[in-house]
Symmetry: C2
Subunit: 472 residues, 2 copies
């Protein structure tokens, strides 16, 4: 962003433009010459790496192993589970055939079908279960809607986990366990609060019996689906002839789930925390948690730089000692990039054996004695991680409401997430979406749902206690 | 490999069949329903992860950052550097167009063209240099030759680094530095000895001024190119209009290199070290360095298992306490999977406060006092890592020869790597390949090359001191 100015719009006045500028100017990402595709620059890839490390640690602790499957899916395999094929068909991209006799190949929009073909070969007996494999890979979906960096693009990075179990009980328990891991990624790493819930029949993954989701609510009044865990029941197992010899010496279809999160998580974090100066990164997700900017004057340069280096050593921060940029320019740049803590040190500070510590989230600036800097930085990073989640949660809660009638619902869903009693019928849901110009069901919370009563829209018996809102 | 037998052929009698069996039966990989594509099962992906971690540490130490670029390359971009486009054209796969007016998109066979389009936007002044970005990604090359797991397939995983420098000196130095990192991956991690060298004009990367390589020589008498680092000079910079404002206030084309290694590294390791019982993994690359197999009899089960658990704790090994498999079956399985150290412990060992330690590479079996097990395991792993490289190097050196005439060369290249004085002419090289049925130039070693003399084939003035052999 060398010669660029800061962000030219306010976040709460024009969030789409703000989002686009902050992503480009913080150097998280760039547009590419390929329509609908994004360049993840090193700054966003470093965040993605942190997310991968964080999530790998969680899943390894329960025995998940990573693997890699081909990105090409033969058309015949792709078509095996009919609901799945129908659901994904519009967004699948295909490879131009090289030889006429070869089968048409899809570029994976998700890997169920290519993986379960192998699973059918590998699974013989209950001793082979559970089979639990995760992939980190690129996914291709030829979306028709507008692309938006990290939120919606033709190619994106994600992980997809695919488990096979002996019993339905195990399936159910583990499907929710992966959802809980997703909550931890969102809240504990990215400081983005979420609601854990269950999707309606209409919003389920194509081919699933049930889809669980973590949903967050962005400051502009739209929900963002951040991760999903699907109960596939025995549908795919039956379509792909996956069978195991049980403890009873008979053959059974096993139970399956699949679950995924993507680089969309990064988009949620940007929208949730960013401000008019740029990104604000939660410390645990920040590639650079601390930056040290010395205030240089020719006559005191040596002394100030020596102290700055001591601070760098103590805090493991990044020392910005470039001499062709002014301190003020550097402050702006590191604010744009959302670095959680900035430490300033000038000749006057050196005289007082102190430095100035500036928090990116609050802008608070306090002097800190040099001898305390290590501990103060470490405490501040911890506090900031917690504060950012708390603040975001309060913000989100202030945007959640409930309703019991259609007129009130229409008003509130302009910019809020609204909880209602709902019949759960796809047709009623379709009507709601059409008549509001885009309000969709988000989820029925896993905790505290009470579906008794009448549907707020059609008056039929309610079957779900549902959040609705506009969404990304 | 539950019910399968061991490998049914000997490595030195039928290496292709041996290779295929060892890969499948050790569960490194599996064939997929997609022609020419491989499933990397968790066991090989764990090795790949170790390689990624090892290599990331090396490149991060010199300031490389990871990023991600789209896998789609618009035809017009792909065509910009003509040599490059010509070289890759036969193996490029394309996406079926969704809309007639859209440009045709290639699936990346390598990412120079898509990356350098962004580089041209990002580089303005010498202050933006060096620009050093690495990608871990999947690559698509529609190879016409036979596919072979890890060695040649339509899709594979790799890393590709792309650097831009101010000066040619820096370029040259760093291009060789990445080659040295590749030597470290091959030799220090995978215990596969290599020769560092320079390719002929004919064998260069399409669009490069010079290609450096690490070449190894497999036990069946074929060379394997394991990694390459390309001096791209200013060719791509000029084709993609990459320019920077120099310290002299004038615009210049910068200097570039690119460098890559792939999952092929895993194939080399398998071929180099495996034996008739299966894989033999060097300790540093082994997902499971130590396995503990208790010898269970009903009456002493408790005592033996308790000691086995102590050993597990001390060695951080994997305890194989499955009770539906016999100890003998387990020995075979862990030998097939190449686990470096197996520890056996039975009731008689418990009485003597000892266990048996078995080295996978030598088969050597020694008793070890339980109190010494931690240190002995750690020392043995270290020795084994070194021994495996030494043994492989000796084997490789015994298969390297030299020659000064065509007749002798033809005989020796049946199963050896042969060093000759060579004119370096593409036409002469083409003749050598055609007349021998496949012998190709491998590299001129970086150290000790002496190109003086006459070409062993055509008699012209020699320009290179070159290794030739058959190859994978």
């Amino acid at each position: 962003m060398a010669k660029d100015k800061g962000i030219t719009v306010k976040k709460d006045e024009d969030m789409p433009e703000w989002y686009s500028q902050v992503i480009l100017k913080s150097e998280l990402a760039d547009y590419s010459p390929v329509k609908g595709c994004l360049v993840m620059r090193p700054y966003s890839y470093a965040i993605w790496q942190k997310l991968m490390d964080f999530f790998n640690e969680l899943i390894f602790s329960v025995g998940v192993e990573n693997a890699y499957f081909p990105m090409f899916i033969p058309e015949s395999l792709f078509a095996k589970e009919s609901e799945h094929a129908k659901g994904f068909a519009p967004e699948v991209a295909w490879v131009e055939k090289k030889e006429e006799h070869e089968e048409r190949l899809a570029l994976r929009p998700t890997s169920e079908t290519i993986m379960y073909d192998s699973y059918a070969k590998w699974i013989r007996s209950y001793r082979d279960l559970p089979l639990i494999i995760n992939l980190w890979c690129n996914i291709i979906r030829w979306e028709v809607k507008d692309v938006k960096p990290f939120l919606r693009s033709r190619e994106f990075l994600w992980q997809e986990g695919h488990c096979v179990y002996e019993t339905q009980e195990e399936l159910h328990k583990e499907t929710l366990q992966y959802l809980e891991f997703y909550r931890q990624v969102a809240e504990d790493l990215l400081a983005v609060p979420v609601i854990k819930g269950e999707k309606t029949e209409k919003e389920r993954f194509a081919g699933a019996d049930n889809t669980y989701t973590i949903e967050s609510f962005m400051p502009d009044g739209k929900a963002l689906q951040m991760g999903t865990s699907h109960d596939l029941s025995q549908g795919f197992a039956k379509s792909f002839n996956i069978e195991y010899l049980g403890r009873d010496e008979k053959f059974h279809a096993p139970w399956q789930n699949s679950w995924g999160i993507s680089t969309r998580m990064i988009g949620a974090m940007v929208m949730m925390h960013g401000d008019d100066k740029g990104l604000v990164l939660p410390p645990k997700a920040a590639p650079i948690p601390v930056v040290i900017v010395p205030i240089i004057f020719e006559d005191t340069k040596k002394k100030v730089l020596a102290k700055a280096k001591e601070i760098q050593k103590a805090t493991k921060g990044k020392l910005d000692d470039r001499d062709h940029y002014s301190a003020g320019w550097k402050f702006n740049q590191w604010e744009m990039k959302g670095v959680p803590i900035r430490i300033e040190i000038g000749p006057k500070d050196v005289e007082k054996d102190q430095c100035m510590l500036v928090r990116r989230d609050t802008g608070e600036k306090v002097p800190v004695a040099l001898k305390d800097i290590k501990k103060t930085v470490s405490d501040t990073l911890e506090t900031m991680q917690k504060d950012m989640l708390d603040k975001a949660r309060k913000k989100m809660e202030s945007m959640i409401d409930s309703s019991d009638n259609w007129e009130d619902f229409q008003k509130k869903t302009k910019d809020k997430m609204v909880r209602v009693k709902f019949c759960g019928e796809p047709e009623c849901e379709e009507n709601i979406k059409a008549e509001t110009g885009g309000v969709t069901s988000r989820c029925q919370p896993l905790e505290g749902a009470d579906p008794t009563g009448k549907c707020f829209k059609c008056g039929k018996e309610a079957k779900m206690d549902m959040y609705f809102s506009r969404n990304y």
